[in-house]
């Protein structure tokens, strides 16, 4: 029971079956802004490109309470993470990004918050049939139908979705909804391959990333960094909307007589990111910060975890206000090698 068909008319029934779990899906009407919890009885539509805020926010919320405490007491409360969640319509690149980020959060110290949420989440993916303009997943080891990180993948076959379980969680989901599904016929494999091939053909942007990780250290002082960062505004758009960026900042905040320690996303493109108490900043300008962003994704991460920390989703290119284009930067790096 690995490949099943779900008639699109039965999609609302399928969604209705996933009760008892928190459902997340691309927000309806919100301009494709983000994944949001699905209200009861609501049927999420999947006809969107890619949400602006990646689904990482479901397992690594932008602001997360680590614990609560009271100023005058000794009472410390920890969050109880036990609600299972299902993310519907995750794109393959975003699912791959979670696998990449997992490596960091389980590296030297386990991050209990992140890992617990990861354990509780089931990712139902949707293979891309209409890749976006700036998608370049095939250049960084992914693909429009990559199943890495997904529990269950859905492929749009026109009338039906083809459902393939990748993990046990996915199997369980299929078993729960068995009566809505039909056994896939033999010709489906062919059909699927055709769709995936066509989709891959539609990806227009590419860059050869083979030599980049090895070459970046040698370009540390290269003039290219000044060139590509001159127009950078130093905002957090590229990093906040990146599915693999995972930096955070921890703060204590008070809410009346309650206090909490929470962590929020941080961005290496902000000046205060590396600012020392003394006032010294080891990355004093946008040149160093841009260099760090590229190096972190294409050099340090590869060194440490043997994988490029970029999945080619194209968000940073789409949304950069001043057209700083990571594919273009990588091409310049290649040329400079």
């Amino acid at each position: 029971m690995s490949a099943m068909l779900l008639n699109k008319e039965k999609w609302p029934d399928f969604v209705g079956r996933l009760t008892g779990k928190k459902l997340w899906a691309p927000q309806a009407g919100g301009d494709g802004m983000r994944f949001a919890p699905v209200a009861e009885g609501e049927v999420p539509a999947l006809d969107y490109g890619n949400t602006r805020v990646p689904p990482k926010q479901a397992v690594f919320p932008q602001t997360e309470t680590l614990f609560r405490f009271q100023v005058d007491g000794e009472k410390v409360e920890e969050p109880k993470l036990e609600e299972e969640a299902v993310l519907l319509g995750v794109r393959p690149c975003d699912a791959r990004a979670m696998v990449i980020v997992d490596k960091l959060f389980s590296w030297d110290e386990d991050d209990p918050y992140y890992l617990k949420r990861r354990e509780l989440v089931t990712l139902v993916g949707l293979a891309c049939t209409e890749p976006g303009l700036n998608c370049f997943c095939t250049s960084v080891g992914g693909g429009p139908a990559s199943t890495e990180g997904l529990d269950l993948v859905m492929i749009d076959l026109g009338e039906n979705y083809l459902l393939e379980a990748i993990t046990e969680k996915g199997q369980a989901l299929l078993a729960e909804t068995e009566d809505l599904l039909e056994e896939a016929k033999d010709d489906v494999a062919e059909q699927k391959e055709k769709i995936i091939n066509e989709s891959e053909q539609k990806i227009k942007r590419s860059v050869n990333t083979e030599d980049i990780p090895g070459g970046l250290p040698g370009l540390w002082e290269d003039p290219l960094w000044q060139r590509v960062s001159a127009s950078c505004l130093g905002c957090g758009t590229c990093t906040f909307l990146c599915p693999t960026c995972h930096c955070f900042d921890i703060q204590d905040e008070t809410e009346g007589f309650d206090s909490r320690r929470c962590r929020s996303w941080d961005s290496c493109m902000f000046a205060e990111y590396t600012l020392h108490t003394s006032g010294h900043n080891p990355r004093p300008s946008r040149r160093e910060r841009t260099r760090n962003r590229i190096n972190h994704k294409y050099n340090y991460y590869v060194d440490k975890f043997d994988v490029i920390a970029c999945v080619g989703c194209g968000r940073c290119i789409n949304l950069c206000p001043v057209n700083i284009d990571i594919v273009d930067i990588l091409k310049q790096v290649e040329e400079a090698l």
Partner: protein, 144 residues
């Protein structure tokens, strides 16, 4: 708290030279005024950063009052003129953003106007009471 015994929290920024003395006069003259006001003394209304008003609302105030010397009477010559401009703009902005205009007031109360102070406080409290508890962008305890 039920609606009928709701008592609004008012934060009042009073200038040291006029309004604070005016409020003091009201006290020493045994003029009764509502006890909902928490007074914060500042040296001059020109020193009231408009973000104080925002922050007070964020941290649980239902209404904010800024009070200083009458125009021309400022101890620092012109502080209240600047305050008038800035806080006037702030009031417009707050209203535009959906904060009930009854939640923010500004007044001129001189050191000899104990009775005016009473009226101003009564008006502020009454307005905030009518507007109800401020929920808007108040800092709330957020779910995990």
């Amino acid at each position: 708290m039920s609606a009928n015994n709701y008592e609004p929290n008012i934060v009042a920024f009073l200038c040291n030279w006029c309004s604070y003395a005016g409020a003091d006069l009201a006290g020493t003259s045994r003029v009764q005024y509502p006890s909902n006001v928490q007074v914060i003394r500042v040296m001059c209304t020109g020193r009231v950063n408009p973000l104080y008003v925002m922050n007070a609302l964020q941290q649980g105030a239902d209404g904010v009052l800024v009070s200083g010397c009458h125009p021309g009477d400022c101890h620092y010559m012109e502080g209240n003129y600047y305050a008038r401009r800035r806080l006037g703009m702030l009031k417009d902005l707050m209203e535009f953003i959906g904060v009930d205009p009854r939640r923010f007031h500004m007044s001129w109360v001189s050191a000899s106007e104990g009775h005016k102070w009473k009226e101003v406080v009564e008006k502020t409290v009454e307005d905030a009471r009518e507007a109800g508890p401020f929920e808007g962008f108040r800092r709330r305890r957020i779910d995990w």
